[in-house]
């Protein structure tokens, strides 16, 4: 393996981990409500700027993690309240999609009014981008390992929450059979709120990691990553958590490979093309665990 390719694959895995974190948010909301949360990406942007704010206030970059989690989690509650709770009609998913899209732009505009539209430097020691190790002849800074480890840690934590805890069981029960879940005493409104807090906090951490990796924060980062996250969710199968993780890493690595063979310019098209292909050929996603359109005409 050439050093160039190794470098790109490692980069791909790191970025893919973030795609997966964001895609997990889309897929969880979709699994629960059959709706798309287009404000999700702006939570990623917001988190980056919250990190800048806290670091400027004198917090260490690691201590900003809880700050980001709390604030973005709260934003999740607001998103649910404004763009999802009331829209239960037949057209609800279109209305929610557009409402959350508009809400996302509101968040984005507030960020721009506060911090401007140009990239802002994240004030952390430059040394963390330099010290590292060598893998297959390619120098890899420790920060990449740290970022990748945090993504993987979050995924494992989410898996444990979903499979082992009461909240996780409730979420899965509501996603599967909302009426039965209500009859069993599960408060669906509360469960929906939990999900929005969880996915927004995850998107927040993803935003923080992106900021750490790049050293700068721009206001369009959320938009870019959210689009990729949506494609990743669809490739993994709508509502399939394992699928989202696998698809996230896969897309990251594919992009890395595309860059190493000089196809960087069209790596976006590759992702979207892959998504369209998956939706048409295997609508339940690469692992086959997602929801399919069931109507037959």
């Amino acid at each position: 393996m050439s050093a160039e390719l190794a470098q790109q694959i490692v980069n791909g895995l790191v970025v893919g981990g973030m795609y997966a974190l964001i895609a997990l948010g889309f897929t969880l909301v979709f699994g629960l409500l059959d709706k798309l949360n287009f404000a999700h990406g702006e939570v990623v942007t917001l988190a980056g700027f919250i990190a800048i704010f806290s670091v400027n206030m004198g917090l260490s970059i690691w201590l900003t993690i809880p700050v980001v989690i709390i604030l973005t989690g709260a934003v999740g509650i607001i998103i649910e309240l404004l763009s999802f709770r009331r829209f239960t009609s037949k057209e609800g998913h279109s209305v929610s999609a557009l409402s959350s899209f508009a809400l996302g732009i509101v968040i984005l505009e507030m960020v721009r009014l506060q911090w401007g539209a140009t990239p802002v430097q994240l004030d952390i020691p430059k040394s963390i981008y330099i010290s590292g190790t060598v893998l297959f002849g390619a120098p890899i800074p420790w920060i990449k390992f740290a970022i990748f480890s945090i993504s993987i840690f979050l995924m494992i934590a989410l898996h444990l929450v979903m499979s082992r805890t009461k909240i996780g069981r409730s979420i899965r029960a509501v996603a599967e059979e909302p009426t039965s879940a209500r009859l069993l005493g599960i408060n669906t409104t509360l469960v929906t709120q939990y999900v929005f807090v969880i996915v927004s906090a995850m998107a927040g951490v993803a935003g923080l990691l992106i900021a750490m990796q790049n050293g700068i924060v721009t206001s369009d980062v959320g938009f870019t990553f959210a689009l990729k996250g949506i494609a990743v969710m669809a490739i993994g199968g709508m509502g399939d958590m394992r699928g989202a993780i696998v698809a996230g890493l896969l897309v990251g690595v594919l992009e890395g490979i595309a860059f190493s063979i000089g196809w960087g310019g069209i790596s976006d098209v590759i992702v979207w093309f892959l998504m369209i292909l998956v939706l048409l050929i295997r609508p339940a996603g690469i692992l086959g665990g997602g929801r399919q359109a069931e109507t037959r005409v």
Binding site: E177, G185, N187
Partner: protein, 239 residues
């Protein structure tokens, strides 16, 4: 005996259909009642009204002595109402064990989950064999067992069962009714909606006959069993 569940002049509609028109009934502590009637008579609609899945057009429902008011379905379940809907209401994507766990989790309970499982698995050994299987992959009869097992792991004050015999083979129907008889003898109040008239009347203390959304006949089960009108009303052979 104290009334645990009751309805006064209840009207419910389901889309364009005025499915239930002025129904009154009561279920007392420890009692079993059956609501029987043809398909479309409004039985399931009553059940859905009782657990607040649909809002009554008018009339009053009281649960444990308090009017239902604007209480939510999930609150009622936590207060001790277990409604096993038509189609069993098991959660297909969760394992058998997780389905039981969900039912166990909702109300304060001092037994540990493992200990609470024991009587369930003694009663339904099939479930213990399949405890890690997805509920959706069980057969109809096994799903009904799982649905009933939820009443065993966390006994409710009132159990509402909608058509426990629906789509089951006679052997399975018998098994489901044995389980219900067990709940009955443990002192649970049970309300049963059935099209399997004989099975239902054998189990219940009292019964209501529903026709076109109205109660046309009520009384002790034994009396009804000996009345030919019940069977007539049921087969619709009037006229």
């Amino acid at each position: 005996m104290a009334e645990v569940l009751g309805a006064k002049d209840l009207h419910l509609s389901y889309g364009p259909i005025n499915a239930v028109r002025g129904v009154s009934f009561h279920l007392d502590e420890g009692e079993t009642i059956a609501v029987i009637g043809a398909n479309g008579a409004g039985k399931t609609t009553i059940m859905r009204g009782l657990s607040a899945l649909i809002k009554p057009k008018s009339g009053e429902i009281s649960f444990l002595g308090e009017p239902l008011g604007r209480r939510k379905t999930s609150d009622l379940a936590r207060a001790g109402m277990l409604h096993i809907p038509e189609g069993r209401g098991t959660i297909g994507g969760l394992t058998v064990l997780e389905n039981l766990r969900v039912a166990y989790d909702i109300r304060p309970n001092d037994t540990a989950f493992a200990a609470a499982l024991e009587p369930v698995f003694n009663h339904f050994p099939r479930l213990s064999e399949r405890s890690s299987q997805r509920a959706g992959s069980l057969s109809g009869g096994e799903q009904q067992m799982l649905a009933l097992a939820r009443a065993l792991i966390n006994p409710p004050r009132v159990l509402l069962v909608d058509e426990p015999s629906l789509g089951l083979s006679p052997v399975m129907v018998k098994e489901a009714y044995q389980a219900l008889a067990g709940f009955q003898s443990s002192g649970m109040s049970v309300m049963l909606v059935e099209q399997n008239v004989r099975m239902a009347l054998r189990l219940a203390d009292r019964a209501y006959v529903l026709q076109q959304g109205e109660i046309v006949l009520e009384g002790p089960s034994d009396d009804l069993l000996s009345k030919p009108e019940v069977l007539d009303a049921y087969l619709g052979s009037h006229g």
